[in-house]
């Protein structure tokens, strides 16, 4: 479903990803863990086309995300090409990024109406179903600013699902939440993982959650994959010292 081929990303002199290769199968749930600055979030941002690669290519669902054919030559993708491949991908942000100028319902209907061409009625019906699923149907007429962080994040998840993505990117979605609100959001995500076949790429510091939903966990450090394995193996018996150190540091922080 997703294929990174020798992807390099720099910010100034700082090399964030060093010739990164990795693949994700359709329907697979992959968790990315590692210290901050290890490039996990950059991977999601590259997939969402919020950043451009410096070299290498990224494919999503067999289509190239980073480049396109133009008069027989391979050139960097333009906005039009990006819009076609972006259709497959949805993203939930650490800071929710709900639109404050729209009520909750309109946050969910705006893109389906304008991008997918749904009628307003269809979009609203679907939006209400999704709000029901995240337990916020009664807040459809609220402004985002009237919701708690946890509620906002559940709306943001519903908003991403409203676009019927094949791939869902979750970027530290509980990091900005008060501890008591984290569980509601994680439950919604576990539910989605169980009941849909959406491919999920998850950056998280919640190791328990990773253990529950992930098919595979990738340990990152300094722009490289240090180690990857099923969660049962990686969390209990990692091969690499770097992974052991990281896991111990995370556990001690609790």
């Amino acid at each position: 479903m997703i294929r990174f081929d020798k992807v390099v990303k720099r910010f100034g002199d700082n090399v964030v990803l060093r010739e990164l290769d990795f693949q994700v199968r359709p329907g697979e749930h992959v968790c990315l863990i590692g210290p901050s600055g290890s490039g996990k979030t950059t991977i999601l941002r590259l997939l969402m086309t919020l950043e451009r690669v410096d070299s290498g290519t990224i494919d999503v669902g067999g289509e190239c995300l980073t480049h396109m054919q133009h008069r027989g030559k391979r050139v960097p993708a333009d906005e039009k090409h990006l819009r076609t491949v972006r259709k497959r991908i949805g993203m939930v942000f650490q800071q929710f990024n709900l639109f404050p100028n729209m009520k909750v319902l309109q946050n969910l209907t705006e893109a389906p109406v304008r991008v997918l061409g749904l009628s307003r009625d269809q979009a609203e019906q679907r939006a209400l179903e999704l709000l029901e699923m995240v337990g916020l149907r009664d807040r459809a007429d609220a402004h985002p600013s009237q919701l708690s962080g946890g509620q906002q994040q559940r709306v943001a998840i519903a908003r991403a699902l409203a676009m019927h993505p094949d791939v869902l990117l979750l970027d530290e979605v509980t990091s900005a939440l008060d501890p008591e609100l984290v569980a509601d959001v994680l439950n919604v995500l576990k539910d989605i993982a169980k009941t849909t076949d959406i491919t999920m790429l998850i950056v998280t510091h919640e190791m328990g959650f990773a253990q529950d939903v992930a098919d595979r966990v990738l340990m990152f450090d300094q722009g490289r994959v240090v180690e990857q394995a099923a969660p049962g193996k990686l969390f209990t018996d990692p091969d690499q010292q770097r992974t052991r150190d990281f896991l111990r540091a995370v556990l001690e922080r609790r």
């Binding site: 919020l50 819009r83 972006r86 942000f93 639109f99 404050p100 100028n101 705006e110 600013s145 676009m163």
Partner: protein, 236 residues
């Protein structure tokens, strides 16, 4: 000792329609120019950015009164078109205000958090929809207080048209009433100031209303911060 106050006032107010026309026309035209030039300064195309930047710098860099005389006296000679004085007045007031307003629009659009654009990209909205549905509505809230200041500057600037013999409030007071009542200058000019004060209060009241409406739109209280920013910046 105050002289014929009602008589003075009546004559001064004969200029009200001109002042209102120039100010209102100037406000409309300046608002349009502000958005056109302000958004053009953020355009992807370098040439578009350059043209709007030149417009803004030239109109902000020169004196409004020079612009007025240039449009009234030099332009007709250069292109052979004599504009109707009232329209020429609106043109100058609007173009001048638009140059300042463009910076307001640009600044407010750039101040919308990057995360909001990214949220819109993640939903695959087109660049046009991103601007129109997500960025601009949020930027609008921060634009209202500085635009209030700008519009009051336009009202004040409208007095300049008296210098090219348009019969506005200032012309009526200065060129009609004053010459035959020089010993009543204090009364006459105080009346004139009060009329302008009343008009600017009307503008501010309308903008406060607009601000509350815009703030409700994005679900927040009108910020006291943006008003203070507006007060401390934005000279003509």
């Amino acid at each position: 000792m105050f002289g014929d106050v009602p008589g003075f006032l009546r004559t001064i107010l004969e200029g009200a329609s001109t002042t209102l026309a120039v100010t209102a026309g100037g406000i409309v035209f300046a608002t349009v120019m502000s958005f056109v030039a302000g958004l053009a300064m953020l355009a992807p195309a370098r040439s578009v950015r350059a043209v709007s930047r030149i417009y803004v710098e030239v109109w902000r860099g020169t004196s409004e009164i020079v612009q007025l005389f240039w449009i009234f006296l030099a332009l007709p000679i250069l292109v052979g078109i004599q504009l109707v004085p009232l329209w020429a007045g609106i043109l100058v007031i609007g173009l001048n205000g638009g140059a300042y307003g463009a910076e307001i629009v640009r600044g407010a659009v750039q101040a919308v958090p990057r995360a909001q654009r990214e949220g819109a990209v993640a939903l695959n909205l087109s660049p046009f929809d991103r601007m129109r549905r997500v960025v601009l509505p949020q930027a609008l809230v921060d634009m209202v207080p500085p635009f209030n200041n700008l519009f009051i500057q336009l009202l004040k600037g409208s007095a300049l048209v008296s210098l090219v013999f348009l019969q506005d409030l200032t012309f009526q007071a200065q060129a009609v009433v004053l010459p035959t009542n020089t010993d009543q200058a204090l009364t006459i000019l105080t009346l004139l100031l009060l009329v302008y004060l009343a008009l600017s209060i009307v503008i501010t009241a309308a903008m406060r209303f607009l601000e509350r409406w815009a703030a409700a739109l994005v679900g927040r209280q009108p910020s006291t911060r943006s008003r203070e920013v507006a007060l401390s910046g934005g000279a003509a």
